[in-house]
Symmetry: C2
Subunit: 359 residues, 2 copies
């Protein structure tokens, strides 16, 4: 018996697999995973309240099972016009290469922190789970989320962050190992060099907190599920492997990069948004980073890169796109999200993860 | 059945735990682990042939069970006098702080690559296992080691390195995850930023090579053993946890630092030797690195720091010592090395790692 029922009892799902929230995929992926018995997630940081309402309506047409709405709760930093100008200048040669006008206005949906408007959406929709990245919103907003009947999850990249979340009453802690793709959930620590691997983080977090622990970072097949449970997790959160499902609907260059990805092809970078995130090494990361101290603050850095990304993608290139990926893309399989969810759980149980319904 | 017998059958030991070779601890630790049924290791890179002969004689007085002799096989880089002078200058303020004469000659046992003299020692001693770090020695030396009847292991930090080793006929590959303490075994890749976590590396290496895989990096308790076997390993290699055993005989400041270590307290650094290695963050790493592009080539960098290390340690400080540690020191327990070996295996079997003697 290597798994435990704590997560399943808490959330009321049948399979202890969370599809990680990822900016890009929409409710189609969420609904497929939830309908299959896992916990689907919808990443809301780049959506408007109306878009969230529409996505959730579509999810609920397909399933009445629990799902997760995810939000960023970073503390916005003051914009720094001089820094942004200097960065734009740094990108000047790329603008020229693509024949783009660097003075043209750029309109894009950037990542907003969780605020009153989204909180009202949550109160209206009452999803089973609301998860946060970069800590927690202020106590007033958090109380409203709890009063709406939602469970609250958040990510920790260190034991200290996990303890901080546990003390503030989260219902589960996502232990985000350094292998994970996308943004590091870091909110107390700043050093990328000290980020902790999944294998080290999960048992130390499990020892430190009272609530169930969700393992994230390089979990992509049944071996990973069994190992995560052995390390003390009650559930796993899987991102990269779901990106290869047709429901994720990612761009052609992104899909091609993931299909070709080797274990050593990712790095943490801040050049795409201003905060560290793991992605497949590409031209922007090689030439501008992967870490760059001159980058504008999060999430402003994404703005100046946006026209380059659009222009490159129009040529079928992911040179300037954030190709978020964990270190285990190679372990993924290209099947539908519902099949992936059920297959991983079935294989894990056969491999020794035990039946969660046994006493 | 999560473990498999491949490693046990290959080496002829009872417990699939290798005590990682670490410069510092001597044959006392090796013998304790081997006598208990695991595979003890002796790190030979900083020992003379005569010292190796003496240590092995002492080991063999205590046990006739298999043990491992470990060597570095880096390709020596040409010394660069200007670079070394500049580095000495960079350290000038520290020399003044400790009242040390920067022009005084420094004598120390530095890390030598495996060569003819050590190969003759191996041929004489015929240890069951010879393991290498930084790839493999040239084919001529390797043949002599094999002809002496020794099994050959080496470390891989990426799938590409694991494949390279497998193609050259090693008997087992040590998958060294990024969490591991001490020197990265990197020999094909150079980017520290792309180093792969244990959770991601072990299954991908297991898929890529024909030989048994040994998981290293943050394995420190029974949960780690079970997880490593689930990910596809046939054995684990444990370093940091053995440093807390009395047989390791490490310095007082080192022991104090390990006892206080949190998950987020380590980083990879090249300031101590010139090659990246994971250690507990201390003054030298904070003020000179943790990574520094001006450091002299491996292993020359260790020379100029040596007087500072000695002076600081005389004051009970580890400020200038390499405090090698993985990211899971917190999971270790302070017991004798034989007890640790037996306890971990017994607990892992109870937790579901299965009996390796069952069919």
């Amino acid at each position: 018996m290597l798994s435990n029922k704590r997560f399943l009892d808490l959330v009321g799902v049948e399979i202890p697999i969370i599809q990680a929230p990822m900016v890009g995929p929409r409710g189609h992926l969420t609904a497929s995973v939830s309908a299959a018995g896992g916990l689907g997630s919808l990443a809301c940081p780049a959506l408007t309240p109306d878009q969230v309402l529409a996505e959730v309506a579509a999810i609920r047409q397909r399933t009445d099972k629990p799902f997760n709405l995810n939000f960023f709760c970073h503390v916005p930093e003051a914009p720094d016009a001089a820094r942004e100008r200097a960065w734009k200048q740094r990108l000047g040669s790329y603008y020229r290469e693509f024949g783009l006008d660097p003075s043209a206005p750029i309109s894009m949906a950037n990542r907003e922190p969780f605020g009153d408007a989204m909180c009202a959406v949550v109160e209206k929709l009452r999803p089973r789970v609301v998860s946060f990245h970069f800590g927690l919103p202020d106590e007033r907003l958090l109380k409203r989320v709890r009063n709406a009947g939602c469970l609250v999850f958040s990510s920790a990249t260190t034991v200290a962050e996990a303890r901080w979340l546990d003390e503030r009453g989260v219902d589960a802690v996502i232990a985000q190992g350094a292998e994970a793709g996308g943004h590091r959930g870091m909110f107390l620590v700043r050093s990328v060099a000290s980020q902790v691997g999944t294998f080290a983080l999960v048992p130390q977090v499990a020892d430190a907190v009272r609530v169930p622990v969700i393992a994230a970072g390089a979990v992509a097949d049944a071996r990973g599920l069994v190992a995560a449970f052995a390390l003390g997790a009650s559930a796993v959160q899987i991102g990269t492997a779901y990106l290869l499902c047709p429901e994720a609907g990612i761009s052609t260059p992104y899909l091609a990069a993931l299909r070709a990805a080797r274990d050593e092809d990712t790095a943490m970078t801040n050049v795409f948004t201003g905060k560290p995130a793991r992605g497949l090494m590409n031209r922007a990361m090689r030439e501008l980073g992967p870490m760059n101290q001159e980058v504008p603050v999060f999430p402003t850095a994404a703005v100046a890169l946006q026209p380059l990304r659009t222009a490159a993608e129009a040529h079928g290139s992911g040179d300037f796109s954030p190709l978020w990926s964990g270190q285990a893309a190679r372990l993924a399989r290209e099947v539908g999200a519902a099949d992936l969810t059920r297959q991983l759980w079935s294989e894990a149980r056969q491999a020794g993860a035990g039946s969660p319904t046994a006493p």
